[in-house]
């Protein structure tokens, strides 16, 4: 456990988590959520939870992003701002 690396990862993770719920465009939010999931994967692996890290990488960064993008592709933009 290197505390500088931990601090940087947690900082980026918090920034990504806040950005994912505040950003306007849904596609941008999905990509930021994938980045959050990737940083979370590194954190799990650093905490020696390799199984959880694997699940986070496959489900969080892989399947969820594809499902969100496929769902967004079926929606229409209602506001024009």
């Amino acid at each position: 456990m290197i505390w500088e690396l931990d601090f940087a990862l947690l900082l980026f993770m918090t920034i990504c988590a806040i950005a994912a719920i505040t950003v306007k465009d849904l596609l941008h939010a999905t990509i930021v959520l994938a980045a959050y999931s990737l940083i979370m994967t590194v954190l799990w692996a650093e905490m020696n939870a390799v199984d959880v890290a694997f699940t986070e990488a496959t489900v969080g960064a892989g399947i969820t992003t594809v499902l969100f993008i496929a769902a967004i592709a079926r929606t229409r933009r209602s506001s024009s701002d």
Binding site: D51, F54, T58, G62, I63, A70, A71, R74
Partner: protein, 143 residues
């Protein structure tokens, strides 16, 4: 997207390796990181790559909704069958040692763990591919 030769060639090269890696993760799950769920999701990711590269209709022609339904049923039947087999042999649910003690075959529990992991992998892969089919198609043939 269908005409892009780079995407098609790269995915045609990458899909077998992704599937081999998924099978490795499923088999390796008893002794290391990984397992049935992660392997099934990785296997479903190879189907997603095929859908992105070749379109939903081409992948549906190889495995349609009925085949996906059968794979899901087969996977959950393997898992629950071994679980209830242990229950029949006076053990708890999924207690492999009970089956091993009754049948008298040494190291049977390792094989049973691998079978259960394979069942979980098949079921998870089928469920994920079913969700992707339903959400990525344009409405036709969605049963």
């Amino acid at each position: 997207m269908m005409e892009n030769v780079v995407i098609r060639t790269v995915s045609r090269l990458a899909v077998p390796f992704i599937q081999i890696f998924a099978l490795y993760v499923i088999v390796h799950g008893a002794s290391g990181a990984g397992g049935g769920f992660q392997g099934g999701v990785v296997f479903a990711a190879s189907f997603i790559l095929m859908i992105i590269a070749f379109g939903t209709a081409n992948v549906r022609r190889r495995i349609d909704n009925r085949g996906i339904m059968w794979l899901s049923v087969i996977g959950i039947t393997i898992y629950a069958g071994i679980g209830f087999l242990a229950l029949l042999m006076a053990g708890n649910f999924l207690e492999y040692a009970a089956i091993e003690a009754v049948l008298g075959i040494p190291h049977l529990h390792g094989i049973l763990i691998d079978l259960v992991e394979a069942g979980i992998g098949i079921a998870v892969m089928a469920a994920m591919v079913s969700i992707i089919y339903d959400i990525s198609g344009n409405g036709e043939e969605s049963s």
